[in-house]
């Protein structure tokens, strides 16, 4: 049984961008995990889960 990726869903407190990071990237990305891809600000964690219904509104960040 698998359950797809688990994401942390964020919004940026500066530019408002919505984005998400898969939690299995925490180790690889280190301090970059959770940063806004546009302005580099620390994202505000909204929720976590596996593909929430509004998932597509959040850009997936992998690097």
């Amino acid at each position: 049984m698998s359950w797809g990726p688990c994401f942390f869903y964020y919004h940026c407190p500066q530019c408002g961008k919505r984005f998400k990071y898969a939690t299995d990237l925490i180790a690889d990305l280190g301090p970059r995990f959770g940063l806004c891809p546009e302005c580099g600000a620390e994202g505000v964690l909204e929720k976590e889960g596996a593909r929430t219904p509004d998932d597509l509104q959040y850009e997936e960040i992998e690097e």
């Binding site: 698998s2 359950w3 797809g4 990726p5 688990c6 596996a50 998932d55 997936e60």
Partner: protein
């Protein structure tokens, strides 16, 4: 002769719903049709979960039976290997997790080789007593275990049960990469899983899948490392970044292209039976 690579289609799982992707099959009729289309596209093994009428994961044996009946009745030409889950509902009893194997006698069933936290919120329990009973029962019922491993410790656990006689070699592993609370999905980690398997359970065969961002990385790496592959909406509802999958067959078609471009051939169900060590 080119190496044969097995494609397993995991079409449903216990988690994604229509709101995640409207193309996820949930009813026995939808699942049976999807399995047939995946077989036509090159899948040799179908890993099956069931859903209740509300779309939640269930181990209801009647749902399994109905799906198999529909597949057999509507598509008698389909000789795909059936692999039924034993872990389709976190709240199922140990009895309901295996009774469908006893009654339906599929060629394969999943064997999740250890316990873990589930999505940082629940427990996925596979106790020593359950794994011992399940392993012994699967031997008695002629159901080949697919050893699902979410981290290297589960491979060590498989070696323990192999030594005890609860599992019988050669084993067939499914490396589950990138699931929450399991090993992250990366080539480096897949190589470590494979090397651990080769050391602890030599002579075993294996397959792998990655969820989310690691799906393609693990697909290519599994083929390159001589393994087999699993694809489907149980593991990924997105075909690519930001793009919902149109069907399970779409995943199978892509895997078949990757296998052929690499220089391998897509294994037929009978070839898969030989590789995995099944008795038809």
């Amino acid at each position: 002769m080119a190496k044969k690579t097995i494609i397993t289609a995991a079409v449903t799982g216990a988690w994604p719903k229509k709101e995640n992707n409207p193309n996820v099959p949930l009813t026995p009729a939808e699942i049976a049709e999807d399995v047939y289309k995946c077989w036509q596209a090159g899948a040799a093994v179908a890993h099956l979960h069931m859903r209740d009428d509300a779309g939640n994961g269930t181990m209801d044996k009647n749902k399994f039976a109905e799906t198999l009946r529909l597949l057999k009745t509507n598509h008698p030409d389909c000789d795909i290997v059936l692999n039924l889950t034993t872990s389709g509902d976190l709240y199922a009893t140990e009895e309901t997790r295996q009774i469908h194997l006893k009654e339906l006698r599929p060629e394969m069933g999943s064997y999740d080789c250890g316990s873990m936290n589930w999505m940082h919120s629940g427990l996925f329990i596979n106790s020593p007593a359950f794994l011992t009973e399940l392993g012994n029962n699967m031997q008695e019922w002629g159901v080949k275990p697919e050893i699902e491993c979410f981290d290297p410790g589960m491979i060590a656990n498989a070696a323990y049960y192999l030594k005890k006689g609860v599992l019988k070699g050669p084993l067939y592993f499914q490396m589950c990469m990138g699931c929450a609370n399991g090993i992250p999905g990366s080539v480096k980690n897949l190589l470590f899983m494979k090397e651990t398997m080769d050391t602890l359970c030599p002579g075993s065969n294996w397959s792998a899948f990655g969820v989310g961002h690691s799906a393609m990385e693990i697909l290519y790496a599994a083929v390159a490392l001589g393994g087999n592959v699993r694809v489907g909406m149980e593991d990924n509802v997105m075909y690519s970044k930001g793009v919902l999958a149109e069907s399970n067959a779409q995943f199978v078609e892509r895997a078949a292209r990757v296998i052929r471009e690499f220089g391998n051939e897509v294994a037929t169900p009978d070839e898969a039976r030989e590789i995995i060590g099944l008795k038809k």
